[in-house]
Symmetry: C2
Subunit: 212 residues, 2 copies
């Protein structure tokens, strides 16, 4: 079912999912591709084309069932299952991630945080305990951890990633300001905040030049 779906479509799926979630929160049961189009600021034909990749979830002239579409996209995204997750780094960023309640709702269960700062050890953030980095291997072995969020300085990130791979972590959500050049079997999703800010700056700069 998923073979041959383009990267661009997959990139849009989480956005569909978020909008459908918002629609459910507002009590909307059905939505036409036209209404969804206005809301998401993409064309209705793009939406129909995207959703047709998955067999098409709507009936002509009748719109999409919001809950059904939400559930189906959730399955495609693999968030109908639970994923055990740890956060390496319990600084502001690590804490921000741990405090973000929405992740849990989507099946990402944060089981622990790890930090070199001994003052944080034993503290709890939304029910997840902070441990020392020396406890990494033991914890990952004893709990079912698939994903590690990396929220530590770039100099320490590659070494920690290598340690985690050895004990079976399969995916990294990398906030460290460096590329983790890992084995191809390992999934890395980067969130490079400075790069995002530089893209903003580029756009600001080119707008200013256009406007003289």
């Amino acid at each position: 079912m998923k073979s041959g779906i383009s990267a661009a479509v997959i990139k849009r799926l989480p956005r569909y999912y978020r909008h459908l979630d918002e629609l459910m929160e507002s009590g909307v049961d059905r939505i036409s591709s036209g209404e969804l189009s206005k809301r998401m600021n993409i064309t209705a034909s793009q939406i129909r084309q995207d959703l047709n990749n998955f067999g098409g979830f709507g009936q002509q002239g009748y719109g999409y069932n919001v809950q059904y579409l939400y559930d189906e996209i959730g399955k495609l995204l693999g968030i109908d299952k639970q994923h055990g997750m740890i956060i390496v780094g319990a600084g502001n960023l690590g804490k921000a991630i741990a405090n973000y309640g929405n992740f849990e709702k989507r099946g990402f269960i944060i089981k622990a945080l790890f930090d070199s700062n001994t003052e944080l050890h034993g503290k709890e953030i939304r029910g997840a305990k902070v441990y020392g980095l020396d406890k990494l291997e033991e914890f990952v072995a004893e709990n079912d951890i698939e994903i590690a969020a990396i929220a530590i300085p770039k100099n320490y990130a590659p070494e920690v990633a290598e340690r985690l791979i050895k004990c079976g972590v399969k995916a990294f959500w990398n906030f460290a300001h460096t590329d983790l050049n890992l084995n191809n079997d390992i999934i890395v999703e980067n969130v490079h905040l400075s790069e995002s800010l530089m893209r903003l700056s580029y756009r600001l700069h080119s707008t200013e030049e256009r406007n003289g």
Copy 2:
């Protein structure tokens, strides 16, 4: 000079910039497209092609001057200038952004934070004071603020954005879990963390299916 440069190239520029920065930190003066290619995990011909968009910064067989390339890309990205910035939201995420020293080095000067939590008012984060949200207009009017980072819950984000646009903010770095549907003149760079995590989950899920 910048007209006709594709979005894909522009998207890669911050990544070049980051790698060149790392090279300078390690004391490297010159680098060939081959070496840069290995480091960045993209092909050497892609690199030559990308950099040729800007007139080509290298000489055949002689490699690129790291500092020169860094400076030129910096100019293209508009980070040779300073940009005044505020952060709305002084929770963990807002604090994480404020504490990220690298932004300053790149010309993004965080001048203040704003939060509804009165306990935070008057506190300083890396030299930037936290104010109440009622001080937004006054502060933006008196200081030269181009960019606002939005790190507050999604329900409050659109209203705050409208207020900021009225006092002249031109660009939003949006961490709120919603799209800010703003006027086309306004630049919005979104960092939707859940969407990034869902993309990771999708890749994890499809790898698992492939491996049975």
